[in-house]
Structures are given as C-alpha cells and as structure tokens.
C-alpha cells in the first residue's frame, strides 16, 4: 500500500447551475461536497447510494468526464482539470454506462471494438490482436460478425466493455451497468467485472444502488447527498442494515434473514453476504 493511489480525489466539490422551477432563477446545486477518496491500483471498489446521492457524479469525476469545481483529482498523478491530460486519463480510466447502446457505434461487433483503436492510429496488426483478446475476455468472440442490434442486452453490455478493454485501461468505471438487464444477465455482468479485476488486474469502480451487487467488492463507499457517509469492507457495511435502510437502500431478503438469525443467537459469519455463502453457513 506504499505505492501512490491510481485515483486520488482531494477535497473536491462539484456544483452545477440549475433553474429553480418556481422562480426561474439559476441556482447552484451541490452534487458533491468535500469528497476525498483514494482508489488503489487493482482494487474493486463499489460506490453505493440511491438515485441522486451523487455516486455517478463522483464516478464521472474519476476520468475527467466532469472536473471538480474545487479541490483536485489526480489519476496516476495527472490532474484531471488540465485539458492536456484528459485524453491520457480517459485512455487509462474507461467507462461503461447503464445503456450500452449509447457507446456502440459501428454496424458489426468487431468493428465497434476496433473503432477507438483506429481513431488512435494504432497499426492494423496490433488492432486485430487487441480486438481478439478483448472479445475473448468478455466471451463474445462467437458474435464477432453480427450487427450489435442482434445482440441481447447482456451481450451488448459485454460489447461495450470490450470496446473499453481494447484500449488496455488500468481502470474501468461501470456506472449502473446492470440497470437495464434481466436478473440473470445482471449476475453475469457483475461476475465478468470481478473476473477482469482478478485475472487482468484491472481496477474496477462499480456504481450501483443494489446491495447484492456490492457483496463481493473489496471496499464499499456509501454516498448520500453528495457526501461519503460509510466506508468499509462489505461485511462491516452490511452489519448496519438499519443505517442502509435509512439511506433508502433496499435490503436483499437473504441478508435480512441472516441478520435476524444472528440476532437470535445463531452464529452466522458476517462475511456471508451472498445467497450461496449464507446457505453454506446455515448448512455447512
């Protein structure tokens, strides 16, 4: 942990002007207030919070999509507010969103992945190699010559991830990547992010409002009204269900059940946070 953090957020504020619906006047809205956070290389971090808590705004400040109103954000030592750094920063820290269609542009899967590489003037042989390995990493090689609209929602999200991976980023920010997917595809995308983290050493920052998607993170940050309100490993965050409920987060029923069983003296490990782990604790 002596190495300097990949992303170093130092006391940032982020405000934007919004029109008051009654008076019609522009007023500053504070989306982030005095946020400091260090993300280490290789970490799997989850930003948790309900809609409007500021988690997406914070995520967008991590790769210069937004820059702070005050304070500063360093990515690998580069200040995101410096225009000259922004291209480098966005290559290092890629981003995927709720709706993969917003970042799919080509008419064929492999062309789509090659797009950003072509724009950067990378030699063709290297493009081919990177496109292939990106498709392998997200298991869509068999779909390489299909038009994206023939893909399912989950497959299109994989395609979006491949497009980012082809740039060989050090970090991927996934902003509610499962929000528009069915429950099975949801689980698959989250496992894919974990796999990229473990096998390829890519730092992951996952934004979500679902506790069940945060259970396997190395560290969770909970946000409310633009501030960091809780931070810790999943086991310690999930130990405080009442506070999470007050932060308008839905508690998954298996987590609730485990907590109630612990309350009546049945010793289930606080580390058991997934359905499988809880079942294993109850019936070893």
């Amino acid at each position: 942990m002596n190495q300097s953090p990949l992303i170093d957020i130092q006391h940032i504020n982020y405000t934007y002007p919004a029109r008051n619906s009654r008076t019609g006047e522009l007023q500053p809205i504070t989306a982030l207030e005095d946020v400091s956070l260090q993300v280490q290389q290789g970490e799997y971090l989850v930003l948790l919070g309900h809609n409007g808590s500021g988690k997406s705004t914070l995520a967008r400040n991590c790769n210069a999509l937004l820059t702070p109103t005050s304070g500063r954000v360093l990515v690998a030592g580069l200040d995101t507010s410096e225009k000259a750094n922004q291209r480098t920063i966005r290559d290092m820290v890629g981003m995927i969103f709720q709706n993969p269609d917003n970042q799919i542009i080509a008419t064929v899967v492999e062309d789509d992945i090659a797009w950003a590489l072509t724009m950067r003037g990378i030699p063709l042989s290297l493009i081919k190699e990177r496109v292939s390995s990106a498709m392998e990493a997200v298991s869509i090689a068999h779909l390489r010559s299909l038009p994206p609209h023939r893909l399912s929602g989950g497959q299109r999200q994989r395609l979006a991830i491949a497009g980012v991976l082809a740039l060989r980023p050090q970090c991927i920010i996934a902003d509610e990547p499962t929000a528009q997917l069915d429950p099975l595809s949801r689980g698959e995308i989250v496992s894919l992010l974990h796999q990229l983290n473990q096998q390829h050493g890519i730092t992951i920052i996952q934004v979500t409002h679902l506790l069940e998607e945060a259970a396997l993170a190395q560290r969770i940050i909970v946000m409310e009204q633009g501030k960091l309100v809780m931070e810790g490993k999943p086991a310690s965050i999930f130990a405080n269900l009442e506070q999470l409920r007050q932060l308008k987060l839905a508690i998954p029923e298996p987590i609730e059940l485990a907590a109630r069983l612990r309350n009546v003296g049945i010793p289930l490990s606080p580390e058991a946070l997934t359905v499988e782990a809880i079942a294993q604790e109850i019936m070893p």
């Binding site: 099975l184 839905a250 109630r260 079942a279």
Partner: protein, 293 residues
Amino acid sequence: MKEPIIIIKNLSHIYQTNQSGPLQKAALLDINLEIAQGSCVGIIGITGSGKSTLVQHFNGLLRPTSGTIIVNGIDVKAKDADLALLRQHVGMLFQFPESQLFERTVYADVAFGPQRMKLARHEIRTRVLNALDMVGLPHREFAQRPPFELSGGQMRRVALAGVLAMSPAILVLDEPTVGLDAEGRTEFYSYLQRIKQEKDVTIVLVSHDMAEVATLADWLFVLHDGHMVMQGTPRSIYSQGDALRKWGLAAPPLSELLTLLRKKGLAISRDVFTLDEAFSLLQQSRVLRGSRP
C-alpha cells in the same frame, strides 16, 4: 374462484411480413389462460418471450392470428368488436409511461381520458381528484403543477392516475417500474397494493423481475419464446428455481436461498415463502441449534 374476466383459448399470433417463409415469426403459440375477476396476475418472461405481445391483445391493439380471446364479455377477434368500449374496460400503462404525459398541469393530464369519455364535469373532477389521491399525489399539492417538474417516480404515478381515472375493469401494467430506483419501486408498488385492495379492478402485471411481482400477484404465468411454459401461485413457481433458470429467469433471492438449503438436505416445506416464514422455521431448526452449541 370468481368468473374469469379474460378467457384465452388456443391463441396464436404470427407477425406477417410481406414475404412468406422464414420471415414469418410466431410471437405467441397456442396460449390458453383464464384470469379471474378481481385477481392480480403476473406475466413473466425474458425479453422477447412474447409477454408484451400477449397483453396487447387484451385491449385489441393486436388481434390474434388464430384462437379466441374474450375480455370482459367482448370478443376481441370479432370484426364488429367495439374497441372503443374495450379500451375503456382495459386501462393500459405502457413502459416508461411518463413519456405519454403532455398536458400543462397534472390535473389536465389525468382528466384527458375521462374527458374523452364525455362524462359530466363534476364526475370528471371527482374521478381526477380521487385518482391523484389514490397514487399518493394529494391533489391540493399536485393538481396544478406541471407534470414535467415532478420526479420520475411521481410522473409515472401521474400516468397511472390517468389510467385509473377511466375506472377500468382491468388494469394492465407493462414493466411499470423499469428505470426507477429502489425507493421509487417500493412506492409504486405500495400504491398498486392499495389500488388492489380498495378498487374492484383486475390487475395484470408484466415483468421480467420475479421479486417485483412476488408481493402482489396471486397467480403467475411464465412465457418463453411465445409458449406458456409454467403457471401457478408465486409459492409454487418460486420453489422451482431450476425450471425458472431454464427459461432465463431467476427466482427471488430468498427463494433461491431456500432452494439451496433444501438441496443441502434441510427440511423446508414448499409452503415456506416469506421472510417471516423462513425466519421462524430456521430459528427453531434443530440442525442449526444442534450443530452450534
């Protein structure tokens, strides 16, 4: 069981294209179902399973290629079917219904449907105010506000009020909470629960999310690739996790947990379904108490 309000027999729907042959697509094949008056049913399936196509038959937006569908006494397939009347009986809330709001005030938007029904002014007013109160948007506070200034969840409830103000016998909701956060979803469902209890209305909920319909629906239909593959009470459907996975669906997490525990040999009756039931069973379980002194 009350009289069925919707009766569907051997319904198929084939999308016609100009060419014959492989471009014809069977969206629904030989569907049979009955929906009891006053019940709440869920229609479940992954994207492309045919659930939206099915409910679009309920108000005559689509007509079956073959088979019959009778909705509140109206034969939807009949050439002389009174579709205007049918659509008063069947209120439909589409996906992202907030995109259908268009009036300058919440009141005007909710009043649009009743006005088309040529009701008396005071009747319209009563219906609009009741509908707004019903969905948790007290009319004193909300009636005169522009709908586009409301939150996403509130806009969606304005759209729901617009449908309720028509006093439909059947309320069809197609993925009503897609895109809302946990709070918005819980709120939407709490008002729907209230409508179910207080209004004499049959509710049809279309969803790909099992956990969502679990609290409301008395009966579930599972569609896959245009076929009806399962039906039953939520209890019985959710206890068949493996079958659901085959259709690309996941049982709610608690049901998954109970299924896993059953597989590991813990005796849990299929009747155990809710969090409270699971808790009271497990806290008394000898296995749990016994193995951990």
